[in-house]
Structures are given as C-alpha cells and as structure tokens.
C-alpha cells in the first residue's frame, strides 16, 4: 500500500522538476544562469578566476575592489576626478561591461575636457538606497570619490509598494492572528523556490497578468514618500561625511503618464511581476512625486541635481523594459550625466579657486 501511495506524490514531484528543468534549460541556452545550472557556471567562473593571476584582472568586482568597474590600482592622483555611481540594476543590466553608462562617463567627460577620470560603479542587482548608503559609509573614505551620484529608485518604489500593502493587510487582521509563524525556519526553502524559473514565470505571466486587471493604487500613500525623503537626506549626509559631493538624479521612466497606454503588454507584465500594488499610472505618478521630492531636497539642501527625466523620460526606444536601459539608452544616459557632471565639477573648481 505504501508503495502505491508513494508513487502518486513522487510522480507529481517528478513532473514539477521536469517542468522546472525544461524552463531552466531554455534560460541557460539564452545565456542566463538559472538555479540548477548555477553550480556549474559558478564552478567554471571560480576555476577561471583561480587560474587568472590577480595582476592580470582588469575589472571588478574582486575581494579587494568591490566595484563593477575597471580596477583602479595605486593611489588616486591629485587632479583625478573620481566618480562613484550608486545604483542598482540600472547601471548593470542591458549592456556588456564597458558599454554601461558608468563606464562611458569618463569618455564623455573627456570629450571636451581632459581630467584624468575614473569611475567606481557601486551597483548591484536588487539593492536599495539603504544598502548604497551603508556602502558609502563603509568604503568611501578608503576610495576617496570626489562625487557620488545617486541613480536608483525602482527597488525603493517596489519596497514602498510592498510595505504599503503589508500595512493594509496588518490593519485588516489587527486583533486576530491569521499570520502563522513557522516553528522551523523555512526561509531557505522559500528563497530556493523564489529562484526557480517556474516561480519567475508564474510571478510574471500568471500573477502579473491578473494584477494588470485589478484596481491597483494610482499613487503611493504620502507616508511612504516621507520615508523616501528621509533616506535621501541620509544619503546626502553620508556622502558629505565621506568628503564627496553628493549628486542627485531624477528617475526617467520608459513612458510618461500621457503615453502610458503605449506601454507594451509585456512591459506591464514585468512591472506587475515585481509589485502588485501600483497600477501603471500609479507607478508613473509615484515616480513623478518622487522626482518632485528630489527637486525639493536638492534646493533645500543645496545639492547638485542632474535632471535625467527631462532629457530621457518617455523614450521607450532606449529601454529594455519599464526601467532598464538598452545599449542606446546607456549611451544616452552617459551623455546626459557627463554633461551634468562636467558643469558640477566646473562649478566646484570655481568655488575652490575663489
């Protein structure tokens, strides 16, 4: 009896594993590193790294140089302009190393003026503003950047939307305990499941396509915006404490509110994959409000601002999805930021001279 009863659930498990393997194979052939294949890919990379002498490595991140940039060896020279880019996936996804906007900044800056220039791209997929601030506090004194540019918002917006939804749920279940607590910590298993290709597909195509039809929020609550404001002030303080000039940038979404209906269905799905609290309009409204907040803080705190939104917002041909640049987008972003940074550096030098 036990054999026949075991056969059925084992068959279900086998089916699920087969589906997952099929999806992962598809991802691997497209150049990604999915879950089952990760150990092999990581082992290959580790082998390559071990067999590559440290002196021949030209690009981080490495244990000694935690940046997605060409490795800076030796001390920083006196007239060198060192730019620290604090971002998330925007500064990594969508182009090969060397073609991303932080890598292109120095070339753009050098076109009309020629200071020695280096970039420290302190960006990583999935990090938020708090993580960036922690890195500045830990590392900036050692690497001595002149300017720290903040370019990231989407993870923070996603976190704010999750936080807002969690608050709503908690209010509904205030006096009851419908939230159960695992006796055993299952978070490693939960994380493993969330890294599977099947989960990603389900999140995007199933829950995402349903979320599009739901009456989602058209704006985040103001208390979430206030929390973001507080984080920006922390960033400014951390940067100034590190002896660098903080530079804020506005966020440029792929579409504007007036042409939101032009957003392709797949792009909407990827937006819903990451958060299911804000509608497309809500996402764009929230960005607008956050950009207004950035403008206000820039004036209040006398912080330099590069208005990328003005130059790039709504140019869908520069984007892979609702936030990430493609190669053309990286080039365009690099030009806009380089122009802004040149003006900031020139103004700083004028102030120093006077």
């Amino acid at each position: 009896m036990l054999k026949s009863t075991l056969l059925f659930p084992i068959s279900i498990l086998a089916m699920l594993l087969a589906i997952e393997f099929g999806l992962e194979l598809r991802h691997y052939l497209k150049g990604y590193t999915p879950l089952f294949f990760a150990p092999f890919v990581n082992a290959k990379q580790a082998y390559n790294q071990e067999n590559t002498p440290a002196s021949t490595k030209t690009r981080g991140p490495t244990p000694d140089f935690p940046f997605e940039s060409p490795i800076q060896r030796g001390k920083k020279s006196e007239d060198e302009l060192r730019i620290w880019v604090a971002s998330a996936s925007h500064a990594i996804v969508g182009a090969d190393p060397g073609s991303r906007f932080p890598d292109l900044l120095c070339d753009q800056i050098s076109l009309s003026h020629n200071p020695p220039c280096s970039v420290l791209n302190n960006s990583k997929i999935g990090i938020d503003l708090n993580y960036s601030i922690d890195n500045i506090q830990r590392l900036a004194h050692h690497y001595q950047p002149d300017v720290i540019v903040l370019y990231q918002m989407s993870i923070d917006i996603i976190q704010m939307s999750h936080h807002s939804m969690a608050n709503d749920n908690n209010e509904q279940h205030n006096n009851t305990q419908t939230q159960s607590h695992s006796i055993i910590d299952l978070s490693p298993i939960q994380k493993l499941i969330e890294h599977t290709s099947a989960y990603g597909h389900l999140r995007e195509y199933v829950s995402g396509s349903i979320a599009i039809q739901a009456p989602l929020l058209d704006q985040l609550p103001s208390k979430e915006i206030e929390q973001y404001r507080a984080k920006l002030l922390r960033f400014i303080e951390a940067t100034r404490n590190a002896g660098a000039t903080p530079v804020l940038t506005t966020f440029a979404p792929s579409h504007q509110i007036k042409n939101q209906d032009d957003m392709p269905y797949y792009t909407k799905l990827t937006l819903m994959r990451y958060q299911q609290t804000l509608s497309v309009k809500g996402w764009l409204n929230t960005i607008k409000t956050l950009n207004q907040t950035i403008h206000e803080i820039s004036k209040e705190q006398s912080v330099d601002l590069i208005d990328i939104e003005q130059s790039m917002s709504g140019q869908a041909h520069n984007y892979l999805d609702f936030v990430h640049f493609n190669i053309e987008g990286h080039r365009a972003a690099a030009k806009v930021m380089a122009t802004g940074l040149k003006n900031i550096v020139a103004a700083n030098n004028t102030r120093k001279a006077s």
Binding site: M1, N169, T176, I210, P215
Partner: protein, 465 residues
C-alpha cells in the same frame, strides 16, 4: 500554518507518510496524531497550545465525572462548570473588549464616564470551533446521548484533530470518537478521493475566492464612493461567492485531508444559494454550525414546542448568538438578527416548492435576501454601509471591473446554480480515475497555477472567527 502555504505543503506529506507506516499500532498512531495536531496549532502562536490542552483536560474530567454521577444536581453543576469554562474562554479572549467598549458607550449616554478597560490578548485561532466541539461532548454526556471517552489521548485527538481544528467543520463526539477508536486505514482510494477534494478546495479558495477579492471586492468595499451602482452590486454578488468559496474551499480541504488519513468529516456546505427559504439556507450553509446551534441552543431554549412567540424568540436568540459567534462586532450581531428575522417571517411557509416556476422564484428571492445579509456581514462600520447603500441607490451605470472578474463571477454563478450534480460528480470521478502519469501532470499543473495565483496572498476569511 494555512492550507495554501509552503509549511503545510511540507507538513502534510510528512504526516501522511509517517501515519501510513504506524497506523496499525493504535497507541502510537493516537500519540502521533496528537503531536502532529499540536505542531499544526502551535505554528500560529505556540503559547495558546496550553489553552486547548486545558480545555481538553477540563472537559475530559467533567465528562467522566458527569457520566459516573447519578445525582441530577451534581450533573447540572458539572455541565454548568463546563459551559462556564468554555464560554468563559470565548468571553475573555473574544468578547471582553467589545462588551467593555459597548458598556462604556452606553454609560456615557447617561453621563457616566468610566475609563476604557481593554486587554491586549491575541484571539486564539480556532477558539470558536474547538470550544463548541468540546461543549458538544459534555452536553451529549449530560443528555445521556453519549458515553465518555475513557482514553485521554483519543479525546485529545478529537479536540485537536488538525484538519478541522482552526476553521471546522465542527465535529460531534458521537460521530468522530468511534472513528478514532476503530483505526480507519489510510487506503489508496481514500488518498485519491482526499487529494481530489483538497485540489477542489484549493481551486475554490485560490482561483475563485482570492481572485474575486483581489480583482474587485476589497477595493469596492474599501472605497464604495468611487464605484458605480452596477459595480457595487457586482461586488456584492462577488462577495457572496467569495465567502462561500473561501469557507467551503477550506472545508473541502479539511475533509480531503482527513479522508487521506482515513477519517470522514461531515460535509459543511451543500450549494447554499439554491436554497428556497431561510431554513433551507441554514440546512445548506455551515451545516456543522447550524446543526450545533439547533441541537444545543434552539432546542435547549424550547425550540418550537411552545407558543408562536416562544418559537420566534428562540429563533431570533439563536441566530443572534450565531451572529455573535462569528465575531465581536455589531455588524455580525445585526447579520445574525437579520437571519433570525427571516427565519421567523418565513416559518409559516413551506421550506421548498415542487412547482418549477415558484422554485426558481424562491431561489432567486432567497439568494437576494442572503445578499443583503452579506452586506451587513462585510461592511466595516455604519458609514461603510451607508456609503454602499447610497451608492447603489444612485442607479449609476458604467464599470471599472475587468473581463477576468466577470468571467470568474459568471462561471461561478453558472456552476453553482445550474442543476449539474452528475457533471460535478463526473469531473471528480474523472480526476480520480486518470492514469497516474496524467493525474500527476494535471495536479502538477494545477499546483503551479495555484502558486502563481497565491502570490497575491489574502488569507482565509473564517480564520478570524
């Protein structure tokens, strides 16, 4: 842990595998079921496991003493102790703050101001269910309809049996204790039927109830002023099916899980919206609660044995308390009173009709009468109710609701109302009789769909009771 969670997905196969291996050894089996049930309960708030253990010990002891006593006064005293203890638990954890606040407000109307007296105790999950379950045990012993269970472990399993512990169905000792004593085997047939029921329950809960809530209901009831009259009505129709599918889905899962282990729980829902009268409705909705209220409250109050006004009083009181059972809030009491009123008004008429035309008219009427009750049940406060009613009365048209919402609602309504018993049975039988690889593929696909849809994460409605 809720049924549609990772924890339960890991918990159930482990429990099933171990149980299948040890069920022949009765004492080991009972201890294992008890431990598994307590682990299940402690996943909510482990401290309250002591409460359910205390309730078990008290009623076990009272049951034994009552059975062994021939003195009517002593027996009466013991049953009063059991009632006081169990209802006292409910009073303290569930109703204290509500009645304290009500009293304070009432006194303030007379100019007497007293400081607020509240406690911060969390409401133990399932307390309304397991207290009623243990009460049915002591009351049946008092009425000499049942002999007490001698084995404490078996009695503890009856109280804490995990599939039905936190949200029913409320089982009677006379139905369930014999099953615990007879060691039902977990056969392949039961596993098959049980799993099918579990998947049907998950489908009702995740695909219908949760989606309807996510796509429209929550937003409509939270912001009724932003919707047209049509959308408000659609939201109300949808809520009727959300609460039905949520609760009956949970019951299906509970019954399915119990069946996998070889135990038979009573059905709790029987297509309630095809009821032709209020009494017919209560024979189909939350059957385990309505029969409990009938047997232990309505009949104890005198039932329909006295004058007409006695019967009316008993009906209203029973339903009022039935409403209060659902929660310490005015809207639940009003909902209960409303149904009591309906029962009273419709009592003189026959409960069902054989005539084709009148049957469907009665079904339509009863459905819409129950809809008004659900409105009382769902609103958060009086203002919410007023906003909803005034929104509907404006008779504005236009809809903000998407096609998926209408598809799910229309499909659910058709499935519920169409006389398709044979089709329903056929689908269930077909699922069970598929060859193992195809069945596994079907269930794997359904599981993935459920996971995808669960990523919106609302909880079971009846857990808050």
């Amino acid at each position: 842990m809720v049924f549609n969670s990772l924890e339960f997905a890991l918990f159930l196969p482990i429990v099933y595998l171990i149980y299948s291996s040890i069920y022949r050894c009765e004492s080991l089996r009972d201890i294992f079921l008890l431990i598994a049930s307590y682990i299940f309960y402690m996943s909510w708030y482990w401290q309250y496991a002591g409460l359910i253990a205390l309730s078990t010990l008290v009623d076990y002891a009272i049951g034994k003493k009552m059975h062994n006593s021939e003195c009517p006064r002593r027996r009466k005293l013991l049953i009063i102790i059991s009632l006081t203890f169990n209802l006292g638990l409910l009073a303290v954890f569930k109703y204290f703050n509500f009645f304290a606040d009500l009293s304070r407000q009432s006194l303030s109307w007379f100019g007497i101001d007293i400081p607020p007296i509240y406690h911060q105790l969390l409401l133990p999950v399932g307390i309304s269910f397991y207290t009623f379950q243990t009460l049915s045990y002591t009351l049946d012993i008092y009425r000499r309809e049942l002999k007490p269970e001698k084995n404490l472990t078996k009695f503890a399993v009856f109280v804490a049996f995990f599939p039905q512990l936190v949200a029913g169905p409320i089982v009677r000792a006379k139905d369930f204790l014999p099953q615990i004593n007879s060691v039902p085997p977990p056969t392949y047939n039961n596993l098959n039927k049980g799993l099918t029921l579990v998947f049907i329950g998950l489908f009702k809960k995740i695909v219908i109830a949760d989606l309807l809530a996510f796509l429209a209901i929550d937003s409509i009831f939270n912001n009724p002023n932003e919707y047209s009259s049509w959308d408000l009505l659609m939201g109300l129709y949808a809520y009727a099916f959300q609460i039905y599918c949520d609760f009956s889905g949970y019951s299906d899962i509970a019954i399915g899980v119990a069946l996998m282990l070889g135990f038979h729980l009573p059905i709790n829902f029987n297509r309630p919206y095809i009821a032709q009268s209020p009494s017919d409705f209560w024979r189909r909705w939350h059957i385990s609660l309505s029969t409990w209220l009938r047997d232990y409250l309505y009949i104890s109050l005198g039932g329909n044995r006295g004058k007409k006004w006695h019967t009316s009083r008993n009906l209203i009181l029973t339903m009022l308390l039935g409403g209060l059972w659902h929660g310490a809030a005015t809207n639940f009491i009003l909902w209960g009173a409303y149904h009591g009123l309906l029962l009273m008004i419709f009592k003189p008429f026959s409960t069902t009709s054989t005539s084709y035309q009148t049957r469907y008219l009665r079904i339509a009427l009863m459905f819409h009468l129950s809809l008004f009750g659900w409105l009382l049940f769902r609103v958060t406060d009086m203002q919410n109710f007023i906003d909803f009613i005034s929104g509907v009365s404006k008779l504005t048209s236009g809809t903000q609701l998407g096609e998926l919402f209408y598809l799910i609602l229309a499909g659910t309504i058709l499935w519920h109302f169409l006389p398709a018993e044979k089709t329903r049975e056929q689908i269930s039988n077909t699922l069970q009789s598929l060859p193992t690889p195809i069945k596994a593929g079907t269930y794997a696909g359904l599981l993935l769909a459920f996971i995808g849809l669960s990523l919106m994460e609302p909880s079971f409605i009846y857990f808050q009771f």
